[in-house]
């Protein structure tokens, strides 16, 4: 009973703030299409920042107590800190009570190595956000704001740059959050493990926004029966998870289609039972992947990038126009080069650094560099590049979710 009340309150608030207008407007349009005029009031309210994230924190707490995975916290301060822990308040990672609350309840001890590595992770996060993601923004905005004004090749680069913008933006934020928490002695759930080195979509989803994927798996997929009740149930549950995941990102059909698109990419792997094929780190012990792995990585990235077009477009019609214009003769022309060279250079640096550290927690876990002076020069260079590239009014994309 209490569980239901808690879920209704949490989900109800989220639905009210985030989805009410979407359903109201969709209903008005639907009724209008059959000639019925509907007078539903559309709300003019501000979406509380990070609501999707802390709602899920709260839900995980009550569900875990109900499932006896954790005892209720007797300390209001500890519970409040769990729900509102500042590094992850606005854009995650979505923490679990079972993981974070015990850390809060224990006394913390300062560890030099941990604090230093936290600082490194923060620095790498700032680099990905300020340098990689924000440098892509100009080109991405230009192509997505006016797709009809640009050639197919320019639009293709716009989509590729958006793939890195959203990665740099969100994984950058996650690295900053994880690094900050580590500095204070907390270990948060890892949210990204180099997803663009994935060899198929299933691996991509084990490496992208891990805290959300695992949340849905534990609190929605398994309660619905998971894969225990046969293939059809498994397919149904997978589609539901991807649709909810898309809808979680925002009240827009573009996100729903993005979720459905990924479900369609995932289902063949599920049907052939090869969705757990790639669980290791790609090209372990080797400097470069083999040809097969190259092709797998590039094709997975290509498929993910198509999905990002739906995600980034303001409406479905816009995303189809974008894709249609890419698939045209102008795809084979020279793309617009303004605002393209520097983002590509920064993306290349990001890829090389992350490839070299693909078996680590983050891109700047530089255990290979033994000389302290060399490490410090690297830190100074990264800080200076971040300062030089810093621009006002470049918010994190995931703040809106």
């Amino acid at each position: 009973m209490w569980l239901i009340i808690s879920i209704v309150i949490n989900v109800g608030l989220l639905a009210y703030f985030k989805y009410y207008n979407f359903f109201a407007e969709s209903l008005i349009k639907l009724m209008a299409s059959v000639g019925i005029e509907t007078h539903l009031q559309v709300l003019n309210i501000v979406l509380p920042i990070g609501i999707s994230f802390y709602t899920f924190h709260g839900l995980s707490y009550v569900i875990d107590i109900y499932n006896k995975r954790i005892d209720p916290s007797e300390n209001l301060v500890n519970y409040s800190l769990f729900v509102s822990f500042f590094p992850l308040l606005v854009a995650g990672p979505i923490e679990r009570a079972t993981h974070l609350l015990p850390q809060i309840e224990q006394p913390r001890i300062f560890r030099y190595e941990k604090a230093v590595d936290g600082m490194r992770q923060m620095l790498w996060g700032f680099f990905k956000k300020i340098v990689v993601a924000d440098s892509c923004a100009t080109y991405v905005n230009m192509t997505f704001d006016n797709p009809t004004n640009h050639s197919g090749s320019t639009l293709l680069f716009g989509a590729i740059l958006f793939a890195f913008q959203i990665y740099g933006d969100f994984s950058g934020y996650s690295d900053i959050a994880l690094g900050t928490a580590r500095l204070f002695g907390f270990e948060l759930l890892n949210n990204f493990t180099f997803p663009y080195f994935s060899r198929d979509i299933a691996e991509f989803w084990r490496r992208w926004h891990i805290s959300l994927s695992s949340w849905f798996k534990d609190y929605v997929y398994f309660p619905l029966g998971g894969s225990r009740l046969g293939l059809l149930t498994s397919i149904r549950n997978t589609v539901i998870i991807f649709l909810i995941s898309g809808f979680w990102h925002g009240a827009n059909w573009t996100f729903v289609v993005w979720g459905l698109y990924h479900a369609l990419l995932f289902l063949p792997l599920l049907l052939f039972n090869i969705n757990h094929k790639h669980k290791d780190v790609v090209a372990t012990g080797l400097f470069l992947p083999n040809l097969k792995e190259w092709l797998q990585i590039i094709s997975t990235f290509f498929l993910v990038t198509i999905g990002w077009i739906f995600f980034r477009s303001s409406d479905l019609a816009g995303s189809f126009v974008y894709i249609k214009r890419i698939i045209s003769q102008s795809l084979f022309t020279i793309p617009l080069l303004d605002h393209l060279k520097m983002p590509l250079a920064y993306i290349s640096i990001c890829i090389v650094v992350e490839w070299l550290h693909r078996d680590k927690i983050h891109g700047l876990q530089i255990t290979r560099l033994k000389l302290q002076s060399v490490r410090w020069i690297l830190y100074l260079l990264l800080v200076m590049v971040c300062i030089a590239q810093f621009r006002h009014n470049q918010e994190f994309i995931y703040f809106q979710f």
Binding site: Y112, W376, I387, A388
Partner: protein, 309 residues
């Protein structure tokens, strides 16, 4: 924890030392030879112009949009076009000319629209460049509030000075060089050049708000000018038609605020909405044909103010 704090402090100190050395120790030759480097030249023009003179104050809509010689011939007065770059900021470029204003002068203030609703009012990277590498005395003109708005640009500027500079230091054909100005302060090298495609201002979202401080500052500036026995006219900037249409709501708000503060434009801003084809490379920089048209309009508008007898 002690070694960690010491290391963090040491790295922070090292970074601060590098930035400080760059800021004060490395000359920015490129900036000194760019159009920003013409600021001391314009001070000299103001000093030598005599009085009563006409002083145009604004950003590049003036430097790249006026032929002052014609104005001088029409009104038989010395004319100085102090326009350089919008990034210097309304607050700075207006304050900068005040010491040179004398009894009987006519000051024509013509800021870009962005000065009214963005932080450009306080200045941008160009102002930081001026303050550290072109006219250090200018730092005295800055208020605490202005420093506060510029402070995060200073480290960025210091780092930008560490970059390898490939700009030709003394390029007399560059339209953005110090040498691109005539004796009146008008940039003229672009008059003989082909126009390029201009990027239009994005449409207003409706969320932009006029910065009341920029309007209050104009009123304050007007009083300072009057206290010196001079007169102030506030002229709308010239603006490419597409950008004007995109920003129409904002421009209307600016006009209304100006009227409310008693520092109205001397003419309707829509009068200076000119065809996109008259613009050289931005929505504020005119081609020669545009310059001729705009200069005539400015002369007609000034004539109507009744300040010239």
């Amino acid at each position: 924890m002690k070694p960690f704090v010491i290391n963090v402090l040491f790295l922070s100190g090292l970074l601060t030392a590098i930035l400080t050395a760059s800021l004060f120790g490395i000359p920015n030759i490129a900036a000194q030879h760019s159009l920003l480097g013409a600021l001391p030249d314009k001070h000299k023009m103001l000093m030598e112009a005599g009085s009563p003179k006409i002083v145009f104050v604004g950003g590049s809509n003036l430097s790249f949009g006026l032929e002052s010689k014609k104005i001088h011939e029409r009104f038989k007065r010395p004319v100085v076009n102090t326009g350089l770059h919008a990034g210097i900021g309304l607050r700075y470029f207006a304050t900068d000319v005040l010491p040179y204003i004398q009894d009987g002068d006519i000051v024509v203030l013509c800021p870009e629209y962005q000065h009214f609703y963005t932080d450009l009012f306080y200045g941008d990277m160009e102002l930081v460049s001026v303050l550290f590498d072109i006219f250090q005395d200018g730092r005295k003109h800055l208020s605490f509030e202005q420093w506060y708005n510029l402070i995060d640009l200073v480290p960025r500027y210091a780092i930008s000075k560490l970059k390898f500079q490939t700009r030709n230091e003394n390029n007399a054909t560059d339209v953005y060089s110090r040498k691109s100005f005539n004796t009146f302060g008008d940039a003229y090298l672009h008059w003989s050049r082909q126009r390029t495609k201009i990027e239009h201002a994005i449409p207003c979202t409706g969320k932009e708000v006029v910065n009341p401080k920029s309007i209050a500052f104009i009123r304050e500036f007007s009083q300072s000018v009057k206290s010196k026995g001079a007169s102030l006219c506030v002229l709308p900037p010239v603006y490419a038609a597409t950008s004007f249409n995109n920003q129409r709501i904002m421009i209307k708000s600016i006009e209304q605020e100006m009227n409310a503060y008693g520092v109205a434009f001397i003419t309707d801003p829509v009068r200076y909405k000119l065809a996109d084809t008259l613009f050289f490379n931005t929505n504020y920089h005119l081609t020669k044909k545009g310059v001729d048209m705009r200069t005539k309009m400015v002369m007609d508008d000034l004539q109507k103010t009744g300040l010239f007898h």
